[in-house]
Symmetry: C2
Subunit: 418 residues, 2 copies
């Protein structure tokens, strides 16, 4: 007799998974190694940026008051009394009709409150003239105009990208507090599986899910330990899952989640006394995607079918791992796009179709990436997005606007709107 | 006298850069290390996928001919003569009204041409009955339906992402031929620059461009060598640039590209006898972005201003590095979005505004990421996109649809449509 499982909706399953996530601790990493990690503290400006009034151009720093009467018929003469390269500091105060030659980024000398660009002057020996008045603070980058001391600039839980690294460097963070990354164990089940470097044998296929999940984790910048292909024996299997749980923060298995005679994963969950969050989801492919939790650690039981496995990871495992890292934007980026061909199948469950998203300069389009079954591998190789068709719909037409989840992002979005 | 430079258009500058790119050689990498590299060979199916007719479900393999007369009032009985787990192979040929219990993914036995799902049967001891006829090849995953032997599935020059890794694994690629990644040298100029861990001093700022570019390269999965802050002496500077060129495929400098008294980069290009491709681009910020080529190696002279530096890298350096790796999709992904506030400044040059792109479930929106000057650092930390306003335009209004370049992608698009 076949076990009857009750499917739950994708959103409900996702909520169950995320509610079990225990965020990881923080650690300090070198700034140069911080790309792709998640900030475990807010960046609050420890000082103004700029730290001082500075020149945004190469030119002359003057006292604006000296330029008031300048005009084409009354050019005003300034005496150049010094020269400030960027990083230099001029210690005297400017006096009447004095100017200091100043380079981009350099601090204005005391008394100076405007900058004349070279092209606004006629230079002669150690003097120059100008033909227009300059306003107070004209051509001056003001202290604090970019960031004010005490201002929260980037909140905790944001991805550290190159722009954030620039800000951290500005504030002198040689080290930065980030969330630890989860350690993830990968185990593949299936007595039909060969290793990648094995020759083909009748009835067997090479294990593609293992390398695929390694890539999905590498895309997230997460390290993993691969435990290879599980032995075809329940107790050995169970011991290996137990070992992987001990050694990692999260364990992913592929295959063995269905109701077939050799589907060990439900039995292992039971024997380990893991709490099963769900074992059937109202989605295609990937309806057998399962998730359990033991001692605060998540076990993802992904399908053995490559397309279903890929989607199960991106929809459930990815956001859970992001949340473990404290990422406030754990979900795949979404958009909408125009469907380029009819899609007539009914969708009793939410359907995720591996698709090719593109933007032609005017509009975003989406096209299924070829052969579309749960066991397909070519379409995950060709696709860069999932087209998402809600359950209870059918007969989408060329030209319809549909929901799209974009893959291949390093960053995500903050809410799940589907 | 100030040197007058003629600005060239962004597209022309980009074309000049890309025309100088010399693609790097190929190398073999382990499949598990291949994520984020670019394929240096097409993937052509060495065999069909599936390799054999297989069962997509757990059930019974039968001869469809035996089911022709099945109906509710005429249930047909089958004898279960064997059991095939996935990976097993049943060597006998099925005879009349025989069936073999078969698991998902297993090869159909000789003679079998349809699969009955468990839920379509009434089982009793070693037999079952069915109440409907099965068509020839019903519930069978056909040999070659996913990929045909000899078919080109993924072309050379595509990014290796997790789906591609699954395909490579399926075909037994334990190693894959990919383009080498460029080695990039980073040198920062500016006598105002402090190291990240230095205390602040009057007139000085910490070097943020170096760590930022390290992040921009890390985002592309490219390794770099940082040569630190250049000495304040032309000849030493030049020697260091020479050394960086010798040790790398591409050299990035920051700062020193303007026409100020301490702007060494143009002098260094001249003394090294490098061919200057451009030294002024009709863009804001980043108009001083320069590029030269020497012995087939590109030298990028990026602005010392963080926002300008960031944009110069993403618009010019990034696609050049992608093209060096043979990536057929070297450009930042584009989209369009609705502007959320008025932007009234005129745009004599193409303007790239660090912005926050988001998609609320219905529409894509874009908002400038705060303080918007070429020397700003907070806006690059807050932004995830560039809003692009064409030259010769002005007075964009809230609600206008504008062009957007998305950052934080691992992958790009194939054409530049702006």
């Amino acid at each position: 007799m076949v076990e009857i499982r009750r499917p739950i909706q994708v959103n409900d399953a996702l909520e169950k998974v995320l509610s079990q996530v225990i965020p990881l601790e923080a650690e300090e990493v070198e700034l140069s190694k911080s790309y792709g990690t998640i900030l475990a503290e807010a960046i609050i400006a420890p000082h103004d940026v700029p730290l001082f009034n500075r020149s945004p151009y190469d030119g002359y720093a003057i006292r604006s008051v000296d330029s008031i009467h300048a005009s084409g018929s009354n050019r005003i003469l300034f005496h150049v009394v010094g020269h400030i390269g960027a990083g230099d500091f001029y210690h005297n105060e400017l006096r009447e009709n004095e100017a200091v030659r100043i380079m981009t980024g350099a601090a204005l000398p005391y008394g100076a409150d405007a900058v004349v660009m070279f092209e606004q002057t006629i230079e002669k020996d150690n003097t120059f003239t100008i033909r227009k008045p300059f306003r107070y603070l004209e051509n001056v980058s003001l202290q604090g105009e970019d960031a004010k001391k005490g201002e929260e600039l980037i909140s905790k839980g944001q991805l550290i990208h190159p722009g954030v690294m620039a800000l951290l460097a500005t504030f002198g963070y040689a080290f930065v507090k980030v969330s630890k990354k989860p350690k993830v164990g990968i185990l593949c089940t299936g007595s039909e599986l060969l290793q990648v470097n094995d020759s083909l044998q009748p009835g067997k296929i090479r294990n593609s899910n293992g390398p695929m999940i390694e890539g999905q984790l590498a895309r997230m910048g997460i390290e993993y330990k691969s435990y290879g292909i599980l032995p075809d024996h329940l107790e050995d299997c169970q011991n290996l899952v137990r070992k992987a749980l001990d050694e990692n923060d999260c364990v992913i298995t592929t295959g063995g989640v269905s109701v077939g005679d050799f589907d060990f994963i439900p039995k292992i969950y039971k024997q380990l006394n893991a709490q099963v969050l769900f074992n059937k989801v109202a989605m295609r492919p990937g309806s057998v995607t399962s998730c359990a939790v033991l001692d605060g650690k998540l076990l993802f039981g992904l399908s053995g079918n490559p397309s279903a496995c890929y989607i199960g990871f991106e929809i459930f495992t990815r956001p859970a791992l992001q949340k473990m890292m404290g990422n406030v934007r754990p979900f795949l980026p979404q958009t909408k796009a125009v469907l380029l061909e009819n899609y007539s199948k009914p969708n009793p469950f939410t359907r995720f179709i591996r698709s090719i998203y593109s933007f032609d300069g005017n509009q975003a389009t989406i096209l299924p990436a070829g052969f579309n079954k749960s066991n397909a591998v070519s379409s995950i190789a060709k696709g860069n997005a999932f087209m998402v068709l809600p359950s209870g719909t059918r007969s989408f037409k060329k030209g319809d606007v549909v929901d799209v989840l974009l893959l291949g992002y390093e960053d995500g979005v903050s809410t799940w709107n589907l």
